[in-house]
Amino acid sequence: MTDLLLLLLVVNAVAVWPWSAEGFVARNVLRRDGRPAVADARRPSAGRASPLYMGSAVLDGDKVNGKSVKDWTVERTMFQALHMATAEEMERDPTVCLIGEDVGHYGGSYKVSKDLHYRFGNFQVMDTPIVENTFTGMAIGAAATGLRPIVEGMNMGFLLLAYNQIANNAGMMRYTSGGQYDIPVVIRGPGGIGKQLGPEHSQRLEAYLNAVPGLKLVACSTPRNARGLLKAAIRDNNPVVFFEHVLLYNLKEEIPYLPYTQAIDKAELVKEGKDLTVLCYSRQRHVAVEAAKRLEKTGLSLEIIDLISLKPLDVEAIKKSISKTHRCIILEESSKAGGVGADILSCVIENCSDTLADVPTRVGAKDIPTPYNAKLEEATVPSVEDVMAQVMWMMTPHMVAKR
C-alpha cells in the first residue's frame, strides 16, 4: 500500500514549480469599473532560449532532434495534462470559457488553469464569487445560448451546493425543452477521498449524480486519458460531469506531445488477463493495477477495465471481458450503499449472466463519513489488500447458490 501511495504522490498539488511565475501574475488586475480587463500581458514573442545557455535540441521543420513532433511524447502530470487540454480547447474555440472560484488570477486550486487568464482575459477565464449554484446555473444558461463553458468546482464536493442546477437544468433542460436547447457544459473538479481532508472534502459525487438523467459522467485516471477525455468532453454537445481525483493530480506519465482526443463513452482496457475482470474507475484503477501486479506472483491474472464512462456504461467492453474471464469484481471508491458500483453490478448481472461463472462482487468504501484520522480514513477506502483478498475469495471454491 505504501509504495502505491508513494507512486501516487502527494496531496497538495500546489506543487513545486521550478520557477515562480509571480512576476507576471501580479500584472493583470480587474479594472475598477468591474469589467474584466483584456489580457494586456500578451507579450511579444519571447520564446527564444536564454542567451546564457543555448540548448542543444536541433530543430528542422516539424522535426526535433531528428524525430517528428508527431512521434514525440513528453512527461506530464495530470494537472498539466488537464491544463493543456483546457488551453488547447480555449485556443481552438473562442466560445470555450472557464468559470469557477479562483480559476483566474489564482490559477485554480490545483493549478489546472494557471496563467490562462493572461492568454484569454478575465472574461474567458472568469473568477466568480463563492456562489456554486449561481455560477453553475450561469454556465448552464450560457451553454444553452451558444457558449461552451467549463465549470470548475474548486472541490467536487462543493458542487453539492449546485445540485439543483446540475440535476434540473444541466440534466433535464434539453429534454423538457423538446430538444431545443443543447447544454454543452463540462463540470469538472477534484473529487474522491484525498489524504485526511475530512468528510466534506472527500465526496464522491458520481454516486449522487448517477441518478440524474441527461448527464454524462466521465472519470479520468491518467495524464494521457485526462487530456484526451477533457478535450472530447468539451467538444461534446451534452452536459458532462468530469471527475478528477485529488490524489492523481501529480501522477506523471509520458503522453503524446500533439493534441489528441479520446472517446468519453468507451472503457479502457488497462491490462489483459484471463482469470477475473476488475471493473474500476478513477484512482481505483491504480489500486487494481497494483493488486494485479502482486497477484501475478500467485499465478492469478486479472483483467482490468477502467470504465472511464460511468454513465452511460460501456456495456460492450464489460461483456467482452467477462465472456473471457467469467468472473468479475467491481471496485469503486464511492460507498457501497447507493454508489455507482451497485449500478455496475446490476448491469453486469443483467447483461452477462450467461457467461458468469460466479456471482460478481463489489469492493467499495464504507458507508460512513470519511474520517480525518489517517488510519481510520485508510480503513474506509478500498486498499490493494482488500482487492487481493476479494480476488482470492472469488478464486477459491465457495458456496454458490445451486440452480
Binding site: R43, A57, T95, I140, T145
Partner: protein, 413 residues
C-alpha cells in the same frame, strides 16, 4: 386630437419626476408612465386580453380534464408581462417561472403552440415534454419555464453572460440583446437572487430582474416572509438600480422597462424592477385560495389592469366600447383556434419517449495539423527541451514568458 396627431407623439418614456430623498410610500412612482400612441395602446390591450382569455380558457380545459398537472394562472398580472416584454426584440431572451404561459404569449410564441404544450401534444412549444411549467421556445427567445423557485435566475444570468461574452470577448458588435428574468416575491427571499444580482452588477450583464410582487407565495403573505418588504430597495445594495412600479398599470411598467432595456442594451448593466401586482386566482388551479381576504381581493380586482387600460384608451380617444369589444372577440377567436389546434394535434409517439435527452455526442477523430502548426509545436518542443537542459546544467534564470504567448501553443513549462 386626431389619431395621426396622436401617432406623432413620441412613444418614448416620460422622464420621472426627481424623487425626494426619502421615499417611504409605496406606489409613488405611479406618476411615471410611458406615452403610447393609439397603435401601441391597441397592441398592449390586445396582448393583455390574450393573456387573460388564454388563462381563462386554460382553467376551463383543466376542469374539463383536457389539461393536467400543476397549472398556475396569470390572471391579474397581465400588465407586467405585457409592459415588460413588449419592449423587447425577438432576439432578446426571457426566462420565466412556473407561471409562464403569458410570458411566452407576450414574447410571441403562437397561442397554438402554448395550448398544445398544455395539452402535452407533439406540436407544443416544448414538444409535450415540458407542460405548463416548462414553456421553451428557442425561436422566440423563451428560455423556460422553470418549476423551482428562483432556479431560473442563474440560467437567465448565463444567457446575459453569453451576450456580454460575445460582445466583449468575441468582439461581436451585434450582440446587444437583453435578458429579462421574471421572478416572484417569494423568490426574492432566496439567496440565488442576491448572488445573481451581485454577479450581474460585477460583470455589467445585460439583464433585467423583474420581481412580480403579487403579495402571496402560495399561502405565505409577503410581509410575513420578508423583513424589508420593499424588494426594489434590495437592488442598490448590490449595485443594481431598483425601481418600484405599479404592476397593475401597463404604462407604468412599460416606462420602467424601457429605461431598463435601454440601460442593458447600452452595456450599462442590470436593473431591478419590482412590479406591485396581484393574482386574481389561487396559486394554482389546485389551490382552494382560502387564505386571502375577500376584501383584499376585491380591492385589487377593482384595479384590473385590462379594464383600467380600456378606460384609459377611451379617455384618450384611442378606442371606444365597440372597438374594445371587437378586440375581445378577435382574441377570443385566437384562443378558440388554439384549443382546436391542440385538440387535433397528434400525441407524441410513445416509442420516442427517449428522444431529446442527449444531443449528438462527440466522436473523436484524428487531429489535423498544418505544416506551419507542426513547426510551431516543434519550436515549442525545442524550447522545452532546451529549458530542461539549462535547468540540468544549473541555470537558475526564470523561463521566458512562454506561457503568455498564444503562439506557439505551448502551455506548461
Amino acid at each position: 386630437m386626431s389619431v395621426s396627431a396622436l401617432q406623432n407623439i413620441a412613444t418614448s418614456t416620460a422622464e420621472a419626476p426627481p424623487a425626494p430623498a426619502d421615499l417611504p410610500k409605496r406606489n409613488y412612482l405611479r406618476s411615471m408612465r410611458a406615452n403610447v400612441d393609439a397603435k401601441v395602446a391597441q397592441m398592449l390591450y390586445e396582448d393583455m386580453c390574450l393573456g387573460r382569455q388564454f388563462e381563462d380558457m386554460c382553467a376551463q380545459m383543466y376542469y374539463r380534464g383536457r389539461v393536467a398537472g400543476f397549472v398556475h394562472l396569470y390572471n391579474g398580472q397581465e400588465a407586467v408581462s405585457t409592459g415588460i416584454i413588449k419592449c423587447l426584440r425577438k432576439d432578446d431572451v426571457i426566462s420565466s417561472t412556473y407561471r409562464d404561459h403569458v410570458h411566452a404569449l407576450s414574447k410571441g410564441v403562437p397561442a397554438r403552440e402554448v395550448m398544445a404544450e398544455l395539452y402535452g401534444k407533439e406540436t407544443g412549444c416544448s414538444k409535450g415534454r415540458g407542460g405548463s411549467m416548462h414553456m421553451f421556445s428557442k425561436e422566440w427567445g423563451v428560455m423556460g419555464g422553470f418549476a423551482f423557485i428562483s432556479e431560473n435566475v442563474p440560467i437567465a444570468l448565463g444567457a446575459a453572460f453569453s451576450i456580454a461574452y460575445r460582445r466583449q470577448q468575441m468582439l461581436d458588435e451585434s450582440a446587444d440583446q437583453v435578458v429579462v428574468c421574471f421572478l416572484g416575491d417569494g423568490a426574492s427571499n432566496n439567496g440565488i437572487f442576491y448572488e445573481a444580482m451581485n454577479m450581474a452588477a460585477l460583470a455589467r450583464l445585460p439583464i433585467i430582474f423583474v420581481v412580480e410582487n403579487n403579495n402571496w407565495a402560495i399561502g405565505m403573505a409577503h410581509y410575513r416572509s420578508t423583513s424589508v418588504p420593499e424588494i426594489y430597495k434590495k437592488g442598490p445594495a448590490f449595485g443594481v438600480p431598483g425601481y418600484e412600479v405599479d404592476g397593475m398599470d401597463v404604462l407604468a411598467v412599460r416606462a420602467a422597462a424601457r429605461k431598463a432595456v435601454k440601460r442593458a442594451r447600452a452595456g450599462e448593466g442590470p436593473t431591478l424592477i419590482e412590479a406591485l401586482t396581484y393574482r386574481f386566482r389561487g396559486h394554482s388551479l389546485a389551490d382552494p385560495d382560502e387564505l386571502r381576504a375577500p376584501l383584499e381581493k376585491s380591492a385589487w380586482l377593482a384595479r384590473d389592469p385590462i379594464a383600467t387600460f380600456g378606460e384609459y384608451m377611451k379617455d384618450m380617444g384611442y378606442s371606444n366600447d365597440y372597438l374594445l369589444k371587437e378586440t375581445q372577440k378577435k382574441v377570443r377567436a385566437l384562443v378558440e383556434d388554439s384549443v382546436s389546434f391542440a385538440e387535433s394535434s397528434p400525441e407524441p409517439k410513445v416509442e420516442e419517449v427517449g428522444e431529446y435527452i442527449f444531443a449528438d455526442g462527440y466522436v473523436p477523430e484524428p487531429e489535423h495539423f498544418s505544416d506551419e502548426e507542426l513547426h510551431q509545436y516543434a519550436v515549442a518542443l525545442k524550447d522545452e527541451l532546451d529549458q530542461q537542459e539549462r535547468r540540468k546544467a544549473g541555470d537558475k534564470t526564470p523561463p521566458t514568458a512562454v506561457q503568455l504567448q498564444r503562439q506557439p501553443l505551448k502551455v506548461i513549462d
